[in-house]
Symmetry: C2
Subunit: 132 residues, 2 copies
DNA sequence: CAGCATCCGACACGATACTG
DNA sequence: CAGTATCGTGTCGGATGCTG
């Protein structure tokens, strides 16, 4: 069952005060639970990657989105960026301890979808069939 | 530590074949890890809600996004929609067993942000200070 | 009450081209 | 190699107004 303190955290995130001020953590969650950020963190959980390695590993991502998301993840202290000042330059991305923690939890979520994805797809077809 | 089978699930999600076909589960994850879907599932974990109750509970959401996300969640078999054919009509939303499972895991994630949110904010200011 | 329809702005995202 | 700059498109998401 779900723990009470977790429900409390959820309620805090749901809350909006009388002036319409939302929880300060929402923007952060938005950034990290983006399609690409999740995949990038999962990829880095495998190990440190160069930029081009990540570009290959995370299938379908554009350079723009990759660099953009990496910047956001670095800003939030989840990803460490290490530059080797050679020519051509070598940049290695790795997870910080905080990032490793989060990436592990996100990967649990991913594996949940791996386990239950078929059932979700079945529900979709049932729903669509019932609509028509 | 992260389990091997979880890493395998992650790699499956990262993969793209030679024809550019992405993993079929990605669209589903995109739908469910949306800003609003996460919050709605968390709200429903507290208990079944009417439409207007959800609208109040999930602070800042518009009617449009609420109905749109509820429809998607219902289509994926995560949320059950029950209509009482009275006048005015009463519609109650609740979690299916599958939805309860997922919502619990998402709430774990939310509570992670509750615990580590301060540190993320601190990392942001450090990063911004170093840039200027 | 529980919504759908419509308009509209903002931004996510991709493709392409260019730089240290 | 590791990005940045620019452009164009599509979707997200809010505001408003209307219906059974």
């Amino acid at each position: 069952m779900t723990e009470p303190h977790q429900l409390a955290a959820a309620e805090r995130l749901l809350a909006v005060d009388a002036f319409g001020t939302k929880c300060v953590f929402r923007p952060i969650m938005d950034q990290v639970t983006t399609r690409w950020a999740t995949l990038i963190l999962a990829a880095l959980l495998i190990g440190p990657h160069r930029f081009s390695e990540l570009h290959q590993r995370v299938g379908g991502i554009s350079q723009k989105m990759l660099s953009q998301n990496l910047k956001a993840l670095a800003r939030n202290g989840l990803v460490a960026r290490e530059v080797e000042p050679t020519i051509p330059p070598q940049v290695t991305y790795s997870l910080t301890p905080l990032g490793t923690d989060l990436a592990g939890r996100l990967t649990e979520l991913i594996s949940w979808f791996g386990r239950n994805g078929e059932e979700l797809l079945r529900a979709q077809s049932d729903y669509d069939a019932a609509m028509s």
